[in-house]
Symmetry: C2
Subunit: 435 residues, 2 copies
């Protein structure tokens, strides 16, 4: 029975709040966090956050000092520096020039500083790009599936429909994108964007071959899609093979690049960015850059990104001489060791069991193990309690069914011996359950 409860009477019904619309992914993540909290001794092959050992709070002071010295070097007065750091500031941020230099040095992406918008983490960059592209109820976005829950969650907050494009073993198939885009258009909706993580995707770990990247750009042109390229893991390949960003291959402004510093600097800065160098023309024929147009949306979400947080990241970029690849060598080594350890431990544990298979990502934080049983929340709880190991059900990353017999394994937050121990514990669970 529905009871009407006045809000003034001090009780809100959850079903009437937007959280009931926006939370499926968050509910899953909450379950995972809750299980992790209840079994603190379980080895976490679930957590995808970066390793804790790479930074200290003293870095904050140093990076701030470096950035201030940089401003002084540019001839700014004490008063101007105070204003830059402490007053309201430019909506699109104050380190766009430093980020543009980094993108040129590390990624071969050549864009003007004005095409860069600094955001409150990459999550806000997704929200802004989505909101900018999708203006009417018929506007939808395509997204690779399985998909990072931050993207589908962002779309849900804005009420934007996400149409999945299934990912293949070697990444997103451009022709599948074209097919889905045509179906969407035939149904009267308008596909505006396509979300993809070309390097070592979360959750699947897979990467797109370079030829597929080129073909995807051609498809974007043909289907009039803006590609939303998310690249948080690009630095962390197992080898030094160049894997060009879509944005680096993008000769005709088909790509909005979504950038994160959470892995390459640290998460606590909550600084991300987007690159949107698309020319935009208004009714009078005046031109601007998409990043400049999107500032309207940014200003209504968070006004501008904290210049203090920007200064911390800016100081890091300056200290690194604009190369995060160079500055992150130690981190790269750590994550390489962990992923290699994960893959060889899987081989040792499951190599002679034909009922199991897993993929072999070329880098990043994640791999996927297919198992001959349902890997659901019930099993996750059993796994944490009785086997002391946590993982993520792949079903979390599908919108309407999929991934029921697969688990995501993450190796970022551990050290190598913990990864080995985690896989050993997982082996026991799997053998007990599959027998």
């Amino acid at each position: 029975m529905e009871t009407t409860v006045g809000t003034g009477a001090g009780l809100l019904r959850r079903a009437e709040l937007h959280v009931s619309v926006s939370d499926p992914a968050a509910a899953s993540m909450n379950f995972l966090n809750e299980v992790a909290a209840r079994f603190p001794d379980a080895v976490s092959l679930a957590a995808g956050r970066p390793y804790d050992g790479f930074y200290t709070a003293q870095d904050i002071d140093r990076f701030l000092a470096v950035f201030r010295a940089h401003l002084i070097g540019q001839g700014r007065s004490e008063e101007q520096i105070n204003r830059t750091l402490l007053q309201y500031g430019r909506t699109n941020g104050v380190i766009g020039d430093l980020i543009a230099r980094m993108l040129a040095a590390d990624e071969g992406i050549e864009v003007p500083a004005e095409a860069v918008m600094v955001t409150a983490g990459c999550q806000e960059a997704m929200i802004i790009a989505l909101r900018g592209l999708c203006a009417g109820p018929q506007d939808v976005v395509l997204a690779v599936e399985p998909c990072y829950v931050g993207f589908t969650g962002a779309a849900r907050i804005l009420g934007i429909e996400v149409v999945p494009v299934p990912e293949a073993a070697d990444g997103l198939d451009p022709d599948a994108v074209l097919r889905v885009a045509r179906e969407v258009r035939a149904s009267g909706r308008r596909p505006r964007g396509l979300y993809v993580v070309p390097n070592f995707a979360n959750p699947s770990g897979v990467s797109m071959p370079v030829e597929a990247r080129r073909r995807l750009l051609a498809v974007a042109r043909e289907a009039e899609l803006v590609i939303l390229e998310d690249d948080p893991y690009g630095l962390f390949g197992l080898d030094d093979e160049p894997r060009p960003a879509l944005k680096a291959l993008d000769t005709d402004h088909s790509v909005i690049y979504l950038g994160s510093f959470a892995k390459s600097v640290f998460p606590g800065a909550r600084v991300g960015f987007l690159v949107a160098d698309q020319p935009v023309e208004d009714a009078a024929g005046r031109r601007s850059l998409l990043a400049e147009e999107l500032s309207t949306i940014k200003s209504m979400l968070t006004v501008n990104t904290s210049p203090i947080a920007q200064a911390v990241v800016g100081g890091m970029l300056i200290e690194a001489d604009y190369s995060l690849r160079t500055a992150n060598r130690r981190k790269v080594e750590h994550y390489r060791t962990n992923l290699r350890t994960l893959l060889s431990a899987l081989d040792r544990e499951f190599g002679d069991d034909a009922r199991l298979s897993w993929n072999a990502p070329e880098g990043g934080f994640f791999a996927v193990l297919d198992v001959p049983f349902e890997a659901d929340e019930e099993l996750l709880e059993v796994s944490a309690r009785d086997y002391g190991v946590l993982w993520t059900p792949m079903s979390y990353f599908y919108g309407a069914g999929g991934g029921e017999c697969a688990i995501r394994l993450s190796c970022s937050v551990l050290d190598a011996s913990q990864v080995e121990e985690g896989v050993r514990r997982l082996g026991k669970l799997v053998r007990d359950r599959a027998s």
Copy 2:
């Protein structure tokens, strides 16, 4: 003629982007900023940002150190402190307890720390509260008119309709709220919230009498409205008269309090908060607090507020012994002097001209001058170029007409002699135009 331009072909049409929906207020503000940039010698009675003279970049270092010492005092290890400041963190933030202490000390608002969510500025708090309350297309919010453009802009980003309630000379009339809420309900829509700035509102400067505040709370109960109370200027009354926040009078959880540190600490922290202590019940009868439920939305907007920025504000709160009223005495004096100077300058300049009138706010940054001619953008440009003074057309703060013959005067960013000079210049313009 409509030409179809493929996005891949490198050109986006502005009319097809959401910025064309979301930008009327931003377009106005852009015009204002652009005029200000073209006439840098004009005295700005337009800018509403805080005065620059109250803080230096060294404060950042000190506040960070104070916050770190606080964590050490709580027995946190070096490793834990690093994790708190640099890793992903709790969605609702890490200084909720400090903010709850400040609210108790300064405002008599007694809430548990769990009812506080730290946000990326007050702007994000508005977005989160709006999104949380409005789940379906029939859900609308009421807002005082004239209205702060950040609120109407936030609603536009989310596609939520804002129904205006006209403000009277002595602030929002609770019975007007009740009437509009009933009309909305009779039309088949559901009024979910009401936005109001009870103290020294932006843009009007007016405040609600205490009796009206109590009556508004009764109306909220009756009309099943959640009040969104925005209080950025509450500290800056002309006298020490207590002006209780709606939240301090709120005995039955009718109020979500939206908090800003932009004026009381500094804008560059980009830290705000919301207080949402409403109990929420799910279908199974489980209870939680609204702030906890809203974390789902926060996580999909910005994940969590930069703990570095939170640490800066936290350090300030600790140093101030949790009283921003005490810590802001110098600022309070500055803004009092400026507002008194503005009001006496208006009296001197226009006191014997019956065609002009203005209000006499009891505090804050703003006052409104009614003039016997249209105060539009064309006149603003003339004013900046030929008279050397900037102001804000009040029409910017109305959704569908209103305020055409009124201007908002702001006195926050200037010193007293600049305020006097600004009003002198304004006097010339007004006399030339009104004659």
